[in-house]
């Protein structure tokens, strides 16, 4: 596939990142380096700011009214928060897949994937067909939908819709893909399919996944970041307590809070 050979994973460095909602600091200064072509999991209890940090990586955080960010996120050494950077272009390099699968009812399965390409100015029918097929193959959905490309996106099951969302994200050839709890709306079988897909996608992309499911993090991720809620100064604030290889996190974590969380005593 031409599409897969073109893109490779990129390194993402998060430096002194402080996301705010209005005046409230959501997460204390985060520093972490996300390795290319690895799966990095972000885990932690509800309200610890893991989705917030994820959304900062492709500048989706600031789309919420009143939300803003301090600090830097470097994509291959380039600060995506520099003043002359267009967030639209950042989001094409750093794609995102959400908790709820997004399949457009008014567009066919084909168009559900092609929409991102059209957005990038590609309207040549042959190019579109090639890249939609390549993306659907990469998302391991092609065999299931190749005979019904003209049906509505909502004709698919939840798990298929989530893979459709992934295909749409892959189609625009990002370097990093962010997953915000991609399996929490899916049944266990669909979840396993997505997990296999993630392991496969790791070869071409840098992957960051937020998950509630510790077993999922243990199964598929290479590195894991653990966030906790800290209420020391009154308001609950997220804090990164540990960032280590997944094997170490689940075997002998550095931080006692990680151990409590993993063993089910917190959150």
């Amino acid at each position: 596939m031409t599409i897969t050979s073109l893109s490779t994973g990129a390194t993402v460095e998060i430096r002194n990142l402080k996301p705010y909602y209005g005046k409230r600091l959501a997460v204390r200064s985060v520093n972490m380096t996300i390795a290319p072509n690895k799966i990095t999991a972000i885990i932690g209890p509800s309200g610890c700011g893991k989705s917030t940090v994820l959304r900062c990586i492709n500048r989706m955080h600031e789309t919420i009214l009143g939300a803003r960010v301090e600090g830097q996120v470097l994509l291959n050494g380039e600060n995506i928060y520099a003043s002359d950077v267009d967030p639209m272009l950042v989001r094409r390099k750093i794609g995102m897949v959400f908790q709820q699968p997004i399949a457009l009812r008014t567009r066919s399965i084909f168009e559900n994937v092609a929409i991102g390409l059209r957005l990038a100015g590609i309207n040549n029918k042959r190019v579109l067909e090639e890249r939609v097929e390549a993306s659907l193959r990469a998302a391991v959905l092609w065999d299931e939908v190749k005979d019904k490309l003209n049906q509505a996106g909502t004709a698919l099951s939840g798990g298929q819709q989530q893979r459709l969302s992934i295909a749409r994200t892959i189609a625009v050839e990002p370097e990093v893909i962010l997953f915000d709890e991609p399996c929490s709306a899916l049944d266990p079988i669909s979840m396993l399919k997505i997990e296999e897909l993630l392991l496969d996608l790791r070869k071409q992309y840098t992957i960051v996944i937020v998950t509630h499911n510790m077993q999922q993090a243990a199964r598929i991720s290479d590195n894991t970041a653990v966030f906790m809620v800290d209420t020391d100064d009154g308001a609950p604030t997220g804090v990164l307590v540990e960032y280590n290889p997944t094997a170490k996190i689940f075997a002998q974590p550095d931080d006692p809070r990680t151990e409590d969380y993993i063993s089910g005593q917190v959150g």
């Binding site: 492709n58 989706m60 789309t63 009214l65 639209m88 272009l89 950042v90 989001r91 094409r92 794609g95 995102m96 959400f98 908790q99 709820q100 997004i102 457009l104 009812r105 008014t106 567009r107 066919s108 929409i115 991102g116 059209r118 957005l119 990038a120 019904k148 003209n150 049906q151 509505a152 909502t154 004709a155 969302s165 749409r168 994200t169 625009v172």
Partner: protein, 342 residues
């Protein structure tokens, strides 16, 4: 814990209360539906019986026609000479029934059969209402997009309030406004007022349609899940692209409903049209002149002393209802989602 109802405390009382409340709700529903059924039923029965082919193809015909012969004198009042200063002196009202040659003369004028049709009014209503929808649709939809996608600024709050006030404003006031702004405005080329015209009516109807379209569009766009917008943004779409290729198509059927509501309201309005298009008994297709409209025909001929014209009024009410229904169905077919979902 027993499953025997008799052993539960308050059981009888709760059962009776449930029955009473259920009865009240059913009664209220029936009260709400009865007038609707009566109105629609009566219009269908009385108006429907007025219909024939001529009703759709012919324009207004008076119940009686006065010919020169009638005026100059083959009248029973004697062979008085024709007086140009009093042309009707020799007229015998009893002899005027029937315009066509061969029609029975001398019958009671109040029993004159219905004649003519409302083709001119169908054309007028379609022209004026369509023009109003064409003006109101882009304004209303874009304003609705603004209110839904940029909801929390002072402009949006003012616009929303203004829409709510305007959509509740009595339509006669809108008519007076259009009368002053358009009909009564002086044409700089002639120095005369512009006068009654189809365009003035369309502008008045636009005032009434824009708030409906704006608020419906806003409400249905708000129903589009935030996640859908986020997904579009996360692909690198601008707000504009996300709104017009993702959000609006998703909410299209709701927006169409809003436009159809506005069309139905505009087509049925009478008061603003009296003050702007005035009405006409002949076929007019130019929007710069007074033009006919179905509600005006209904209004004018309901008051007529001639039963034949009353029939015309009922018939036009029926046609108006059917017209709104037909346009509604056609637009729904045109904008339905053609994609299979199974």
């Amino acid at each position: 814990m027993s499953l025997k109802s008799s052993q539960m405390p308050n059981y009888q009382r709760r059962k009776v209360t449930d029955a009473i409340m259920r009865g009240l709700v059913l009664f209220a529903t029936a009260c709400a539906i009865v007038p609707l059924v009566l109105i629609v039923g009566y219009v269908v029965v009385v108006g429907g019986s007025a219909l024939n082919w001529e009703f759709f193809t012919d324009v207004y015909q008076p119940p009686m026609t006065v010919t020169t012969m009638d005026m100059i004198g083959a009248a029973p009042t004697g062979d008085a000479p024709f007086d140009p200063n009093d042309p009707f002196a020799n007229l015998d009202p009893e002899a005027l029934i029937g315009a066509e040659a061969g029609d029975e003369k001398g019958a009671n004028i109040l029993e004159a059969p219905a004649r003519g049709g409302v083709f001119h009014a169908i054309v007028g209503t379609l022209l004026v209402t369509s023009l109003a929808v064409l003006i109101a649709m882009p304004i209303g939809i874009l304003a609705g997009v603004f209110l839904s996608e940029f909801p929390d600024n002072s402009v949006a709050i003012v616009v929303r309030f203004a829409c709510d006030v305007l959509s509740g404003a009595p339509s006669i006031i809108v008519g007076v406004t259009a009368y002053i702004l358009v009909v009564n405005a002086t044409n700089p080329n002639t120095g005369q007022p512009y006068g009654f015209s189809g365009i003035a009516g369309a502008i008045a109807l636009t005032f009434l349609m824009v708030p409906t379209i704006t608020r419906t569009t806003e409400e249905v766009l708000k129903l589009v899940p935030e996640a859908t917008r986020e997904a579009a943004l996360a692909m690198g779409a601008t707000t504009w692209y996300s709104t017009f290729t993702v959000v609006i198509p998703t909410a299209l059927s709701g927006i169409v409903t809003g436009v159809m509501l506005a069309f139905a309201r505009g087509a049925g309005e009478t008061a603003p049209l009296i003050l702007t298009v005035l009405g006409s008994n002949v076929l007019v297709t130019g929007l710069l002149q007074p033009i006919a409209a179905l509600p005006l025909v209904t209004y004018r001929y309901t008051e007529s002393p001639f039963p034949s014209e009353n029939t015309l009024a009922w018939g036009s009410a029926f046609v108006l209802m059917m017209l709104v229904l037909l346009v509604n169905i056609l637009v729904r077919i045109a904008t339905r989602n053609r994609l299979r979902t199974h």
